[in-house]
Symmetry: C2
């Protein structure tokens, strides 16, 4: 169905919540349990998502008592593609692409070999053109009706 993982969905929700609650760069932090409560997502799952986001540098985790998480960038500066990569790994629509040689038994006769690249590029571009600010309910710089056009540019 060409769907992205639920975890990625959660990641967007969590980051949007961080922004809404003021956990901005150099701002106050929000704890994982708190975010779980606020978003309705199970606490262990929230933690898991935040860990991945932390490794990707999209959020900053402060350890210890009174610790928590906050964004490292405002939502407008976070393209959706980065979140997807952080959670799901590299964006590549087919196994062929990242597997290299030897991963496909039909290699010799495959008529489409190596031709998925433009597709992957197109998807990456589309997803890079959308920021988390577009997805969250926070103030946007442009009217909503223009989003589709922007996104398709």
């Amino acid at each position: 169905m060409l769907r992205l993982s639920k975890l990625t969905d959660y990641a967007v929700v969590v980051m949007a919540r961080l922004a809404r609650d003021g956990a901005l760069p150099d701002g106050q932090v929000q704890t994982a349990p708190g975010l779980a409560l606020a978003t309705g997502i199970a606490e262990p799952t929230v933690s898991k998502v935040l860990k991945s986001l932390g490794q990707a540098g999209l959020v900053e985790g402060l350890r210890g008592a009174r610790g928590g998480y906050r964004l490292t960038r405002p939502l407008e500066d976070v393209p959706l593609s980065e979140v997807i990569v952080a959670i799901d790994g590299p964006i590549a629509l087919t196994a062929c692409v990242d597997g290299g040689l030897g991963s496909c038994e039909a290699e010799g006769i495959c008529a489409v070999r190596g031709r998925w690249d433009p597709v992957n590029d197109a998807i990456r571009r589309a997803l890079s053109g959308i920021t988390l600010a577009d997805l969250a309910g926070v103030p946007r710089r442009r009217p909503a009706t223009m989003l589709a056009q922007l996104v398709a540019e």
Copy 2:
């Protein structure tokens, strides 16, 4: 990993092969077993793919002895998005989107509710801009180096 199904990959390969072997609109037909042999994909799988493509109107199946399949349109006129829809169903990145109300327990507090639409639109546009001719090794109207730009338009 945001990947599309293997079946879709197979579908593209099979359709490219149909074109290459002259199974064009109003042309000769190719049998499923023959295509399996030519592509290296298992015969039952090829059949499965062709059935789906047939239901979507992308290929035409002629029954009976000397039957087989042929394209209903040249590859240039088949956007990749149609193939994906034929095999995988509607292009919708998240369960939220097509599930309607009641399918998400966090509905009340979800900050991203209903905001995935621009993402889905962007993906659809990107995939509609690529035709099977771009993916197959068949003669193209434009130099390969321009593909990425075209695709991203």
